[in-house]
Amino acid sequence: MARPFLGFGLGLRTDHYQYVIDNKPEVDWFEIISENYMVDGGKPLAHLDKIRQDYPMVMHGVSMSIGSTDPLNTDYLGKLKTLIDRVEPQWISDHLCWTAVEHINSHDLLPLPYNESTIEHIVSRIQTVQDTLGRQMLIENLSSYVTYNHSEMPEWEFVNEIAKRADCYILLDINNIFVSANNHHFEPKDYVNGIDSDRVMQFHLAGHSYNGQMIIDTHDHDVCDPVWALYEYALGHFGAVSTMIERDDNIPPFIELRQELAIAEEIAANVLTPQQLQIRSKLDLQGVA
């Protein structure tokens, strides 16, 4: 069955609330950072509700800590469920990483060793999360700066295997592939070619920065040309995939981000047919599989 295609979206950011509410700009959908709305009330939720009336949304989390060896945080999952009920997102995602151990939170996306025992550990946790939330989720590949001695397979194999066994989907961050390829010396296209197309549900695009030695996933610049090229390649490989640009720092006016998103639309229009690019939204991912 064809994958849903939401079109081209942007990350919803505080700086742009008023612009979006006042101007209802032409954007197919928004991605929200779930944790920003896991509060009791006030402006964040009021703006969210208002903007949700006009746009489809997906929810993107940073704190599930799916790879941690701490027990799954049931309080977190409960709050996430409450937000899901409020937003009714097309789908939800989090990162293939760990963020906390012994209940200390790093507030960072920390990498995992790519081996069989880690796969088993994570698969069972994703299954628990999906059962708890009553829906499938997407897991996203990271930008990373270390390789563990105990890693035994390339990252794409690790991602694929988890998605297959847990029966979840993949949020493929094109920039993260590029960043990690540079930092760990692999071919970014090998990564794309290695990913199971049936599992890919969404793309992230973002900018990064170079610290003199490594590329750091800072989301504070425009998307760079090699990442656009890799995006083009990925579209050719996977077909139409819902695409959005993440911008978290040095945030420009909305209109500039919208222009950047137009580059993604243009590339997609070159690679894919209008038919492939027709929006096919699915309210419930469960219905897709």
């Binding site: 944790e35 896991m38 009791d40 009330g41 939720l45 009021a46 906390a100 151990v101 507030h107 920390l110």
Partner: protein, 259 residues
């Protein structure tokens, strides 16, 4: 080490005080050593927490200046590792750290400034409740007044100050030079969010805070009136009490009535 839990504990140890044996777990490459690679995470960890704290306490940061605020943040990060999934709540104990640490405790307005900023943050995203109206109050049956209690907006925060910390906060908020700190007398300030979602604030008179505190504790109208007898004559008291109620309603502090 092949055990995932040990690996994670070791990694976290590196983030917290970079003393763990994590370096042995990570590959070095000609591009960058294991230590260089891990230090990217270690510095990002501190930077991210500092960024959150600077957002939460931006007036305090201005007041202290970069260097001193940075030192304060480092002390906090050492002493209060995050136990929350939401960065928004990471810095909630900063006022207490300031109160309890000799380096900061002797500058009394610092603790108060931090309390003001925390109160604003707590008010900002507190739960939304209905806003009580004068009509509902007027329509209460006679019998309701025998044991009438009040639900306030969850955004209501009372902050007790002994210094001119609110004028200092205000000057910092307006990009002006703050007045010199001075010790005054105990004053209660109230912060609350109105239906326009903006947080309002004002200083409370002694009589008002006396009854308001009781009302916030869930004490009934009769108890509040009794308290007002400390300030007013028996004839004045009922009108004064109703007057306070009306103003709390007009200012959208009240959510409802219970009886």
């Amino acid at each position: 080490m092949s055990d995932l839990r040990e690996l994670q504990q070791c990694f976290m140890g590196y983030l917290l005080d970079d003393s763990s044996s994590m370096i042995d777990e990570v590959e070095s490459t000609p591009m960058l050593s294991a230590k260089g690679r891990l230090d990217i995470y270690a510095s990002a960890y501190v930077l991210r927490l500092k960024e959150a704290m600077t957002t939460d306490y931006d007036k305090l940061a201005l007041y202290l200046g970069d260097e001193r605020f940075d030192k304060l943040m480092e002390r906090y990060i050492d002493k209060f590792p995050s136990h929350t999934t939401n960065l928004r709540y990471f810095s909630v104990n900063l006022p207490e750290l300031i109160r309890d640490e000799p380096d900061y405790a002797h500058i009394a307005e610092l603790y108060e400034l931090a309390c003001i900023e925390r109160a604003f943050a707590d008010s900002f995203d507190a739960k939304d409740l209905q806003v009580a109206t004068i009509d509902t109050l007027a329509a209460l049956p006679e019998v309701a007044w025998e044991n009438l209690t009040f639900d306030f907006q969850k955004s209501v925060q009372i902050v007790w100050l002994e210094h001119n910390s609110f004028p200092i906060w205000k000057a910092l908020a307006d990009d002006e030079t703050p007045p010199k700190a001075e010790k005054l007398y105990p004053m209660a300030w109230i912060l609350w969010r109105r239906s326009d979602l903006v947080t309002h604030y004002k200083m409370l008179a002694t009589e008002e805070v006396a009854v308001l505190s009781l009302a916030l504790q869930g004490k009934n109208f009769a108890v509040m009136c009794e308290k007002l007898l400390d300030f007013y004559s028996e004839e004045e008291t009922p009108m004064k009490a109703i007057g306070f109620l009306q103003s709390w309603i007009a200012e959208e502090m009240l959510a409802g009535f219970k009886f």
